[in-house]
């Protein structure tokens, strides 16, 4: 209508951007961008690893690869059947040892121990988790292999030692999430503490505990160092008796990669592909279960 409306209204000095605010805005943008970049980097590394293993390994994967064991040097058509079977046996034995004990440790530290004891237990578990796996391997080597021989048992025990703190910590964390009000509900009905834990707390946290166990399995399925001294000198063919040393996928990858043969290099990549795929699948299953378990606990909050 008249002149003042046509010209832009003067911005109050209170709301005007000054140099300091502008600088903060720029710093803010820059840090956001850096953080995003770092996250993308992690995804990129994983993608590069998977893609390169896929490209180099896929050619060596055929039916023979899964059905045959290693063949003498120079021959073709070798596979990793014995390593697959060996890894399954080793991981099964290690899980059978580590998961029940780990679950009980988690139950103790989250449900029965006083808070100071529980903190001490968690600290010890964290240290155990931080022990380099080659040290665990040497320890078992000194304990069970010297004077005897390499065996599936020795390898499985080494793997179990690595699994134990992972399982125990995971169980502690999810069990501690179960609301106290649920425990009180059980106790008020006249249930003993153990009964309450067994019937009310454990079922509520079951998903998270399975998740922790699966992640521990995925972790040790790829462990090489603890098996090198304890369970690496294997005979030919598929072997399932843990009193003998058993072949395993990670140790086999290590051997194949050191071989001068091109075919064996390809096999190493193929075995690595198999291992990565298995670990990936375990992780996805674990995530899914954990999500469900969280949803269940969340609904009671």
């Amino acid at each position: 209508m008249n002149a003042p409306a046509a010209t832009p209204a003067p911005v109050s000095p209170l709301l005007r951007s000054d140099g300091r605010l502008r600088r903060r805005r720029i710093v803010n943008r820059a840090m956001e961008a850096l953080a995003t970049l770092a996250a993308l980097l992690a995804v990129a590394v994983l993608a590069v690893v998977i893609v390169s293993v896929l490209i180099k390994g896929i050619s060596a994967i055929d039916l023979d690869f899964f059905l045959h064991s290693e063949v003498p040097f120079g021959e073709k058509g070798g596979g990793i059947a014995n390593a697959i079977v060996g890894t399954l046996v080793l991981v099964a034995l290690a899980s059978a040892m580590a998961i029940p004990v780990g679950v009980l440790i988690g139950i103790h530290s989250s449900q029965f121990a006083r808070s100071r004891t529980a903190a001490a237990i968690r600290f010890v578990l964290d240290i155990l988790n931080g022990v380099p796996t080659i040290v665990t391997g040497i320890f078992i080597f000194g304990l069970l292999v010297i004077g005897h021989q390499q065996s599936g048992w020795a390898g499985a025990i080494a793997l179990a030692i690595i699994m134990l703190p992972i399982v125990a910590r995971a169980c502690h964390e999810v069990l501690a999430l179960v609301p106290d009000t649920l425990k009180e509900g059980g106790l008020a009905l006249g249930a003993t503490r153990w009964r309450t834990v067994l019937r009310i707390v454990l079922p509520t946290a079951a998903g998270g505990m399975i998740t922790g166990s699966l992640l521990a399995i995925a972790r040790v399925a790829g462990e090489t160092a603890p098996l090198l001294f304890t369970c690496a000198i294997v005979g030919p063919g598929v072997q399932t008796n843990p009193a003998q040393a058993l072949a395993s996928i990670p140790v086999r990858i290590f051997e194949l990669a050191e071989s001068p043969s091109k075919e064996q290099h390809a096999e190493a990549w193929a075995a690595a592909l198999l291992l990565i795929a298995a670990v990936l699948v375990l992780n996805v299953i674990a995530r899914t279960l954990f999500g469900r378990s969280q949803a269940r606990i969340g609904r009671t909050r």
Binding site: E184, G185, G186, A188, G190, I200
Partner: protein, 289 residues
């Protein structure tokens, strides 16, 4: 069982409120419960501690059978702690302990040779927030207490008690066609009545309620209050509440606590209209708390 008449007789004190419990509730089959056999609970010199801190400082108080006693008082005055001493839930907290005596029909629940499991079965508890067991169906939630004593999940006896408890909690008509659905799928008010059913299933003599309606909306609250009025014909009820209107609506007797001590106890209308202690008057008239 002429329950409504009974209810009338034992509700002499409360002024009729617009939301007062009515006699129009469907008659509840009470064949499994010990109707009329409710018990007296007497606290003698009860003290409760968290570590060194004394939270309940010597309380003498008797809860009469077939009556609802409300415990009122400002936050932190020790009402919940006191109530949790009655079924020995207080001692479950690390570092917590209780002294003094809690007599259930003359027997000290802290006495030698007393099994805490038996105490908690005789004295049930309903909590502030509904806490149905999240992994269990509606049926299993109610059966949970029964199964602790080895009752078969699908036994005829268990089935009958579950139905009776759900009816007793006024929930049967709402859930009878979906007993196998999870208990946490119910609304907040239904969940709380499920928790009451779970408590009723083990046939308690006394039910302690620790602010049972504080997480519920007014309509759900009203249903619980109606339920309390019905239940008092078969159990002794102690209810902790922050809500003075609620105390006035449901309680035959009201006890006022302050700083771990019992200040005054008496018929509810007397506490709210002619309290003898000035602190009670200040609290009920809203001057503090």
């Amino acid at each position: 069982m002429s329950r409504d008449v009974h209810t009338e007789e034992t509700t002499p004190v409360t002024e009729p409120q617009p939301t007062a419990p009515t006699e129009t509730q469907p008659a509840v089959p009470a064949e499994t419960v010990n109707a009329g056999a409710t018990r007296t609970v007497a606290l003698q010199e009860l003290r409760a501690y968290y570590g060194q801190a004394e939270q309940v400082k010597g309380i003498d108080l008797t809860f009469q059978p077939n009556q609802v006693t409300a415990i009122i008082g400002p936050s932190g005055c020790g009402k919940s702690t006191m109530v949790r001493c009655i079924n020995r839930m207080h001692e479950e907290i690390p570092g917590a302990r209780a002294r003094g005596r809690v007599l259930l029909d003359g027997v000290d629940v802290y006495g030698p040779g007393i099994d805490v499991v038996a105490v908690r079965r005789a004295i049930g508890m309903v909590f502030q927030k509904p806490n149905p067991f999240p992994t269990m169906s509606i049926y299993d939630n109610v059966a949970a207490g029964l199964r602790l004593t080895g009752a078969k999940r699908r036994g005829e006896e268990t089935r009958r008690k579950v139905e009776s408890a759900l009816r007793g909690a006024g929930l049967w008509d709402e859930v009878s066609d979906r007993l196998e659905e999870p208990g946490i799928g119910l609304s907040g008010g239904q969940q709380q009545r499920l928790c009451i059913a779970r408590t009723l299933a083990v046939d308690p003599e006394v039910i302690l309620m620790d602010e049972p309606c504080s997480a519920l909306d007014p309509i759900a609250t009203l249903k619980i209050e109606e339920l309390i009025d019905e239940l008092k014909t078969r159990v002794t009820i102690v209810i902790v509440t922050h809500n003075m209107q609620q105390a006035a609506r449901v309680a035959d007797r009201t006890a006022f606590m302050l700083d771990g001590r019992l200040i005054e106890v008496g018929p509810t209308d007397a506490i709210f209209t002619t309290p003898s202690d000035p602190r009670t008057e200040e609290y009920v008239t809203g001057k503090f708390g």
